[in-house]
């Protein structure tokens, strides 16, 4: 059964130094508030798993939380580079960063296989490209019926899965909607889970019979954080802060400006600032 917790306690209980952590959300519902708490608690040597590292892992990498990253597209979407990720890979700052790189299709299949309790995923992919030459985890199987050789990747089974969702009900069931990425799979594939939500409601009320709901008993901790995915967004609550994504390019380009921003906006703040962001970007 999911336990309603405060952010600091949830991260303390579920995220340990050296863990593999998947903080998912495909552009939508990225769990920034949880990421900031991981930074404040100065977690170390994490293996950070995410299809798109996005700003959340750029920040965590720049603050020295990560020793390895598993990813499939590492840029600032529509803007350019994730400079802290680049600085770590190109120059080893603030520490050397090991990378395990996949395609989107392979990562998505690897989460899917993890959720399905399979040891590996099969895909028609990685054909004629160089990634298998530099990532020894990409292997193959032969179809027992047709003889076709298909690519495989190991299932993802993170120690901790963290997502942001729209709302929980009093029983701790959690509802997602909109661009749902591979969040459900990330939760179901992980050993421990934290879900941050915009709000708690008495019941979900009238809804599609096929609404995407994670039952309470699939979740470890629920943390209520209005605005918890800013500068990403929460469908029906507030918009993506595209201007911040654009601004991040300048903030993150140099180590000094990055560190100053993190000090002022993360280290010296707490989870409550997210509600303020959300208010500014709230839907009419």
């Amino acid at each position: 059964m999911a336990k309603f917790m405060e952010m600091a306690a949830a991260i303390e209980e579920h995220v340990h130094d050296g863990d593999s952590v998947a903080m998912e959300g495909f552009t939508h519902l990225i769990p920034f508030a949880a990421g900031h708490e991981v930074i404040r608690q100065a977690k170390k040597r994490l293996t950070l798993i995410r299809m798109t590292p996005d700003l959340i892992y750029d920040q965590m990498i720049g603050m020295g939380c990560a020793e390895k990253i598993v990813f499939s597209w590492g840029g600032n979407p529509g803007v350019g580079s994730t400079h802290r990720l680049r600085d770590a890979v190109e120059n080893g700052w603030p520490n050397k960063l090991e990378i395990e790189e996949h395609s989107h299709a392979a990562m998505a299949n690897a989460y899917e296989a993890g959720a399905a309790n399979l040891p590996f995923a099969v895909l028609r992919g990685y054909i004629g490209v160089d990634l298998p030459k530099v990532n020894p985890k990409i292997k193959s199987v032969t179809c027992p019926y047709t003889g076709e050789v298909l690519a495989t990747v190991p299932a993802l089974r993170p120690d901790v899965g963290i997502i942001h969702a729209l709302r929980a009900d009093r029983e701790g069931n959690v509802l997602l909607e909109g661009i749902v990425g591979c969040q459900k799979e990330a939760v179901l594939a992980s050993k421990r889970t934290i879900v941050t939500v915009e709000e708690v409601v008495e019941t979900f009320g009238p809804r599609s019979p096929n609404a995407i709901i994670l039952p309470s008993w699939t979740i470890g901790a629920i943390v209520v954080v209005p605005g918890g995915s800013h500068p990403s967004y929460a469908q029906g609550y507030y918009k993506r802060d595209n201007s911040f994504y654009i601004a991040w390019d300048k903030i993150s380009r140099e180590r000094d400006t990055f560190l100053a921003w993190m000090k002022e906006n993360v280290l010296e703040k707490d989870t409550t600032i997210f509600a303020e962001h959300a208010k500014k970007l709230g839907l009419a």
Binding site: A105, L123, E148
Partner: protein, 256 residues
């Protein structure tokens, strides 16, 4: 009537023209997204646009900054999970046109968006492949749109992120890939199509006012020309208006 336009506008408009009402198009961010939506707002109103974030049949009023802006979901027929998108829709063979861009391209339209320099000790670490490796082989055909330049149009790629026609032009067939691969490369200066025999990307059309010298200066290899090279028809008034209009709406929305 003199209609002025930028090379970038010419590129986007030319790319848009290649799209048809009956296409199901897997759209990348940037120039591909602009081209696909321009097509939708002009000659191909029934085109189906799919973004890898899971949005199917989306009709954004403003171009998204990211591949997963709320606008895409709000205006979609439906939105599926990302594993489903890659399994049932892309790998399922349901996409007629995949639209790619890249940092670097070679004469066989292989693309690099991974690294410049050695993979393990990169000079420049680029974002990586994302959806591209599987888009390149699972879509019916691939359109590529990229601005030319000697650092982008290179003799040999340091890393093949997604396969075009392979390093010799024969790899698709050799690897048993049945889709067509890159059938059109639309740049800011001209349009390439693969030669029927060699699969080398070959210039079939040059944009108005562009010279072969200019093209040579912006390509690290000596590009092949088709027997009949035509001049790309210039943008129409409508095309330019619609494109500028959506770009203005987009700029206003993202700056807010």
């Amino acid at each position: 009537m003199t209609q002025t336009f930028t090379p970038n506008e010419m590129m986007t408009i030319t790319a848009a023209r290649a799209l048809r009402n009956e296409d199901v198009c897997f759209v990348g961010i940037g120039a591909p997204s602009a081209a696909c939506n321009l097509a939708r707002l002009t000659h191909a109103p029934l085109i189906t646009l799919i973004y890898e974030s899971g949005t199917i049949g989306t009709r954004p009023n403003v171009l998204p900054l990211s591949i997963g802006d709320g606008e895409l979901c709000d205006t979609a027929l439906t939105t599926v999970s990302v594993p489903e998108m890659f399994r049932y829709w892309l790998q399922g063979g349901r996409i007629t046109v995949g639209f790619l861009g890249g940092a670097q391209i070679d004469r066989f339209a292989n693309l690099n968006t991974t690294v410049v320099g050695d993979y393990h000790h990169p000079k420049v670490r680029l974002p990586g492949g994302g959806g591209a490796p599987e888009i390149a082989t699972n879509c019916g055909e691939i359109f590529i749109t990229m601005a030319m330049g000697k650092r982008a149009f290179v003799e040999k790629l340091p890393f093949i992120t997604s396969m075009g026609h392979g390093v010799t032009g024969a790899e698709r067939r050799a690897l048993g890939v049945k889709s067509k691969g890159p059938t059109r490369l639309i740049t800011d200066l001209c349009v390439f199509e693969p030669d029927a025999q060699t699969k080398e990307m070959t210039i079939v059309s040059i944009h108005p006012g562009v010279t072969r010298e200019q093209i040579a200066e912006n390509c690290a290899w000596a590009p092949a020309y088709a027997a009949n090279v035509i001049e790309t028809p210039p943008p129409t008034k409508l095309e330019l208006e619609v494109l500028r209009d959506i770009q203005a709406r987009t700029k206003a929305a993202h700056a807010a």
